[in-house]
């Protein structure tokens, strides 16, 4: 009896060893880990999920081709995502975990400005190549070596949009601003105020609100009392922006809503209602009617729950550039070589048109992506492109 058991065990162990040996021999594939730390839940998650979705799509496509071939070896691309809930403290601990525990050398994120400023020292210190978000101009400076901003910020597009407004809606003269009371919101308000005033508009009110606020009646009562022609929603997250729009209309505001900040038309329409959202003029990251965009949406649905936010387009292009730069550099560890390759990757054929790195004048380093951007208007619950800028 006992010898039978022993024999069986021996066979099992030998078979297992054999299998493992053959499996090992067959699998020359290793894993390339890419981390994501961004707002994957709560307000602002529309944009964080764009970063997460984008890298996941790029990874999925690379793996579908059999893996990423870098310097003679093939790598399976694995994405490790942590949700920072748009909180800087959580970003720091998540990024630390990615770097120290998961040992990643590439990170997509964060999205929030406060979060990005908090983790950037970690990235630079540990030579982690990052595709960041963050609207704040402080995120890029002359000392930045390893962080690249994957989307255009208001610095890049607010000027042209204000000019368009001036030309096409000349009877609007005064602006009231409302933004979240955080790093992103402070920067946005300051910049937009300068640009509007520079173009001849009168900024009659600049309000900041706590991110968790839902009842805007008091602040809107204050704003409406200043009789603005335009209410500029800035970097207010889309769902909240919809609430603001609805409550403002219900308080009697009949003027124009403008949003030169992060996009998210589906959420705005859902929260405001089709009727109230009608006519909103906004910065649009993408023309959602093109074939390329619809293709990307199909891909997105395979990795995350729809709807896909327009920002995904930017980060998808950036993710592809990152993977291709890794291939070009022939290494998955030497981030200095890879970033040199990344610098040379543009002009690049993005899915909406050519994109390139720029920003030396504004930030002191060419790590800002410059892309085509659009001006959109909400008509009948959908976004319609009414203008385009290079």
């Amino acid at each position: 009896m006992k010898s039978m058991l022993m024999k069986r065990t021996l066979v099992a162990v030998l078979s297992a060893m054999g299998l493992a040996w053959t499996a090992n021999a067959a699998a020359q594939t290793e894993t390339l880990k890419i981390g994501v730390v961004s707002a994957l839940s709560g307000p602002g998650s529309e944009w964080g999920l764009a970063q997460d979705g984008a890298i996941k799509i790029a990874a999925m496509e690379a793996n579908a081709k059999g893996g990423l071939k870098v310097g003679g070896k093939t790598y399976k691309v694995e994405v490790i995502s942590y949700d920072d809930q748009y909180k800087a403290a959580v970003s720091v601990s998540s990024a630390t975990r990615l770097i120290e525990q998961d040992k990643v050398k590439f990170i997509v994120g964060p999205m929030g400005s406060a979060a990005t400023l908090a983790v950037k020292p970690l990235f630079e210190q540990n030579k982690v190549l990052a595709i960041i978000g963050a609207y704040s101009e402080k995120a890029l400076d002359a000392n930045t070596r390893y962080s690249y901003r994957g989307f255009p910020t208001q610095v890049e597009f607010v000027g042209p949009i204000v000019q368009w407004l001036k030309k096409n809606k000349p009877d609007l003269k005064s602006v009231a601003q409302i933004d979240p009371n955080d790093e992103t919101g402070w920067f946005s308000q300051k910049l937009l105020k300068e640009q509007y005033q520079g173009a001849g508009y009168k900024v009659v009110s600049s309000e900041l609100f706590e991110r968790s606020l839902k009842d805007f009646q008091p602040v809107l009562t204050r704003i409406i009392a200043t009789k603005p022609d335009i209410i500029e929603l800035g970097t207010t997250p889309p769902g909240t922006a919809g609430l603001v729009i609805r409550q403002a209309r219900e308080l009697g505001f009949k003027g124009q809503f403008v949003k030169i900040g992060g996009p998210g038309v589906p959420q705005i329409v859902a929260a405001a209602g089709k009727e109230f959202a009608e006519g909103l003029i906004c910065y649009a990251a993408a023309d959602v009617t093109t074939a390329n965009y619809k293709n990307l949406e199909t891909q997105y649905a395979k990795v995350l729950k729809p709807p896909m936010n327009e920002f995904t387009v930017y980060f998808y292009d950036a993710a592809r550039m990152l993977l291709e730069s890794i291939q070009a550099a022939g290494t998955v560890d030497d981030t200095d070589k890879i970033r040199a390759a990344l610098d040379k990757a543009t002009p690049y054929k993005g899915i909406q048109g050519p994109i390139r790195w720029g920003g030396m004048k504004a930030y002191g380093v060419n790590h800002q992506i410059l892309t085509p951007t659009f001006i959109g208007m909400i008509k009948n619950g959908e976004q319609v492109i009414i203008g385009q800028m290079e």
């Binding site: 909180k87 403290a89 406060a114 908090a118 955080d182």
Partner: protein, 311 residues
């Protein structure tokens, strides 16, 4: 004598642990567990006098912001900033205690809760001093005796020292005559007062020492994270501390340690299933409240008594 030797040996072993394990992740858990042990012990003192303070989160925040600001704005060296902040919190507790401590039971809880929220809202509203909802980033590293504490292991030793101090001092207090008075404050205040003891002074003392521990813990926490944000110091901190005490067992300070050992690492290990972690936390608390009201410590004691009886 024998006890202190055993204790020192334990602390020495714990101090060496991170160097042996060489895992930054585990060391991080170690830092957090030590800090929360100190915090839970401070809450244990308040539980003992029957006045749960929900302002403790805000006190922790004041310790963190205070130490950071004293170093960053006034350029003070770490030991001065650290103790300055801790004493600042203690002083505030003393002043507040004069007004608040005569209120008892749930009213005291609600009172300290409201007060704590006002402080946190001030962190958010007073942007020029506290940095608003983004808080303060880039907090300088502590420097002791000319040596800067930069590594995770260094912080672990600092936190361990704090936890050891908290444990020994709280235990010593409880075993002393002072402790006897403090314990009686909740159970039979009338009797204590009839013996001529000024119960208010003892409550003040407890509250102040508790705040002192909290202030120190907050300061270490802030320097460790290099970032202080207001939402880290709200209402959920004292809730967490109460839970640690309930689950660990309130009767003996070792309960706070046991509770921290169980509850602090839990979220770190369950990070991938974050909301299941919170669900588990809630369920665990309910189970303990219903079936093990004396906490882990109570369970151990019963176990030991049963074993002893069987033999």
């Amino acid at each position: 004598m024998k006890y202190s030797l055993k204790f020192l040996a334990l602390v020495a072993a714990l101090a060496v642990l991170p160097f042996a394990l060489r895992s930054p992740f585990l060391t991080h858990i170690g830092v957090m567990t030590c800090l929360y042990t100190a915090l839970a012990l401070s809450m244990n003192m308040m539980l003992r006098i029957g006045q749960i303070s929900f302002a403790h989160g805000a006190f922790m925040g004041l310790g963190a912001y205070g130490s950071a600001l004293l170093m960053m704005r006034l350029g003070l060296p770490f030991p001065v900033a650290f103790f300055g902040a801790a004493f600042g919190v203690t002083l505030l507790a003393w002043l507040v205690g004069l007004l608040f401590l005569r209120i008892r039971g749930v009213y005291f809880v609600l009172l300290t809760f409201a007060f704590g929220e006002i402080i946190v809202l001030t962190f958010i509203e007073w942007v020029s001093l506290f940095g608003g909802s983004s808080g303060l980033a880039g907090i300088p590293r502590p420097a002791l005796f000319g040596h800067e504490i930069q590594s995770r292991n260094g912080f672990y030793l600092l936190a361990l020292g704090l936890a050891a101090f908290a444990y020994t001092s709280v235990r010593a207090v409880y075993r002393s005559e002072l402790g006897a008075v403090i314990t009686s404050l909740d159970e039979n205040e009338a009797l204590t007062q009839s013996l001529g003891i000024d119960s208010r002074r003892y409550r003040q003392l407890t509250f102040c020492f508790s705040a002192f521990l909290v202030g120190m813990s907050g300061a270490v926490y802030g320097h460790y994270l290099t970032l202080v944000t207001p939402e880290d110091y709200g209402f959920w901190v004292p809730v967490h501390l109460v839970v640690i005490n309930v689950i660990g067992g309130m009767a003996h300070p070792v309960g706070a340690v046991l509770g921290a050992l169980l509850l602090v690492p839990l979220p770190e290990f369950l990070r991938d299933a974050k909301q299941y972690q919170v669900l588990l936390y809630g369920i665990l608390l309910i189970v303990f409240l219903l079936f093990m009201p004396d906490g882990l410590y109570g369970v151990f004691k019963k176990f030991r008594r049963a074993k002893g009886g069987a033999e």
